[in-house]
Symmetry: C2
Subunit: 325 residues, 2 copies
DNA sequence: AAATATATAGTAAACGGTTGACATATAAAA
DNA sequence: TTTTATATGTCAACCGTTTACTATATATTT
């Protein structure tokens, strides 16, 4: 691979001048500029970004840690992050933690060593804070890790309100909420809070089901849902905390002879592609995943520049009505 | 951030010795080793991988270019690649090209500049070859780009055979295939070939529908499928070239009053999460995506080491029977 | 004619780490 | 006692690029 020296030699000028045209600094004549570009083209030269990074003390690279990119929610999030980062000239290093704290710690160390300019964490582990050294900027998605780490989320409480009210409006009298573990300090817990509050206010019978880590990792909630139906056969509306749960709720309901939405209404959360693809398609609360990714990138970049950034950024959600309600 | 010099100073030894314990070279006493580790811990030191990469002339990083990581197939693929790469000490840079040749070229240049050790391309553009400079190793997924670039795929022909035979066994007399553009030089075209051949051999009526770029990008095939049903109302079996198409085929069939699988049987391809989540769940051909990712990584790493690698690697597929047939 | 702007070159240090050559000192083995 | 293995140190070169500094040589204004 050609380097600056080769380009300078071919163009018949000094290394310094070549570097100047590359970085648009100082005075350069048109002819010199042309000579340089010609030599670069001839040698198929592209600057060694590793060397640049070393000198400049930043890499224009951000790390993204998610539990699993094959989970459609994180897939969309990562796509939004990468797209927006690329538009700003930043690269993305992808890390799948599979909910394992150890891996997350390892990834953080790795990213630190690779001198990324910041890390976006869409992950669930606690106790990560102590491993987040001094200088590196972090942003979390949907999760408060510590007071000093900014968080981007959507309005989970409002999402809970919207979903619950809609189910009640549709005439449900016996609601169930299915969500993830409440022990994790996730903003998503607010969906459940809103659900309980709205149900209580409306005098509607309600219950909530908490699933575990295994279900989350395997993306398989069927056993939980079957139990829910067995123990509460009169449930006529389910607010699922993800579209994946909603899809499986529909499967389980249909299998037990219930019709969706006639016998039981189901509403999901996230509005990932699965919600559009099922039969019946899933009414859901759309999180503005693109915008969440965009804000996460903007914030991490501002942080890296030493600017003051908001501690929390809450984006609005929207009810998307489809066939399952 | 602490560097080698700081660690050496704190440990009271020379920079060279610290570098020696870091790289396990030469003779080091236990006490010195301990002093170094203590100092490293105290300073929260981690070696600057950028500097290392510059010296070593490789980055332990690979680039992955996919059309869209939010497409569940590529999400799974990227996850498999990242997981396997991480296990081997390699990092992954993620690139979403959205099927735009320009972006792919830009990404390739970027990855070249960042001195990645290799690039895995799960993308569809032609004419990329001229931009793939001299030294950088490439591997494609499911696509022959040129004679000299290794390709990893699953056995698309066999997948087509399995799917078509299964539909015929189930009693279908009037089959349709829905797939992507055949102009692209994808291995996936072989599914269609197999479909036509098997149908002809069995004397079963068949047709095949080719969707375009827009449908692929938007992941929305409903209009195509509606037309198919309108123009061929007697179709009683559909072989869809992806689970996304299969899911939408089921939606469209149900909407038009057909029952799945009683009136029309649908078989998908890939076995992504969507196939498990729909009602009815989708019978499909499972591509061994994990293994495809693993082989892609192994091959790119071997290539980077200058070893001889197979030109094509074809992994077996499997029929997964669910409810849609 | 003097002052200023423009255009280019060379040298050297820096970024942080690795490595080879060479020196030195102690401890164990021949 | 000599040899050898072990343990550390110093020094310098190197990876490819940036940049500050200094030096010159034109060209253009005052």
């Amino acid at each position: 691979m050609a380097n600056l020296k080769d380009v300078a030699a071919l163009a018949g000028i000094s290394i310094t001048t070549v570097s100047r045209v590359l970085n648009n600094r100082g005075y350069i004549s048109k002819e010199t500029r042309k000579k340089v570009y010609d030599a670069m083209k001839k040698l198929n030269y592209s600057p060694n970004e590793v060397a640049r990074s070393l000198f400049r003390q930043h890499t224009n690279m951000i790390g993204v840690i998610v539990p699993s990119i094959s989970n459609p929610f994180y897939g969309k999030l990562a796509e939004a992050i990468e797209t927006h980062a690329a538009a700003k000239g930043f690269k993305v290093m992808l890390c799948n933690s599979f909910h394992e704290t150890e891996k997350e710690i390892e990834y953080i160390k790795m990213l630190e060593g690779n001198k990324v300019d910041g890390v976006i964490i869409g992950s669930r582990s606690t106790n990560l804070v102590e491993y987040m050294g001094t200088g590196l900027p972090f942003v979390t998605i949907d999760r408060i890790l510590s007071d000093s780490i900014p968080c981007v989320s959507s309005d989970n409480y409002q999402g809970g309100v919207l979903a619950t009210q809609f189910l009640i409006e549709k005439g449900c009298k016996n609601l169930a909420f299915i969500g993830g573990s409440r022990k994790l300090n996730m903003m998503a817990n607010k969906r459940n809070e809103a659900f309980m509050t709205i149900c209580k206010d409306a005098g509607v019978k309600c219950m909530s089901l908490e699933t575990g880590e295994e279900e989350l990792s395997a993306m398989d909630y069927v056993a939980c849902i079957e139990r829910l139906f067995r123990e509460n056969p009169k449930v006529d509306g389910v607010f699922a905390s993800s579209d994946l749960i909603a899809a499986q709720t529909i499967q389980t309901a249909v299998k037990s002879g219930r019709k969706v939405p006639q016998d039981i209404r189901v509403i999901g959360y996230d509005d990932i592609i699965v919600a559009r693809m099922t039969t019946p398609s899933i009414t859901t609360i759309r999180q503005p995943i693109n915008e969440m990714g965009r804000y996460a990138v903007d914030i991490i970049l501002d942080e890296a520049k030493g600017e003051i950034v908001p501690k929390t950024t809450v984006l609005p959600v929207r009810l998307i009505v489809r066939e399952s309600t």
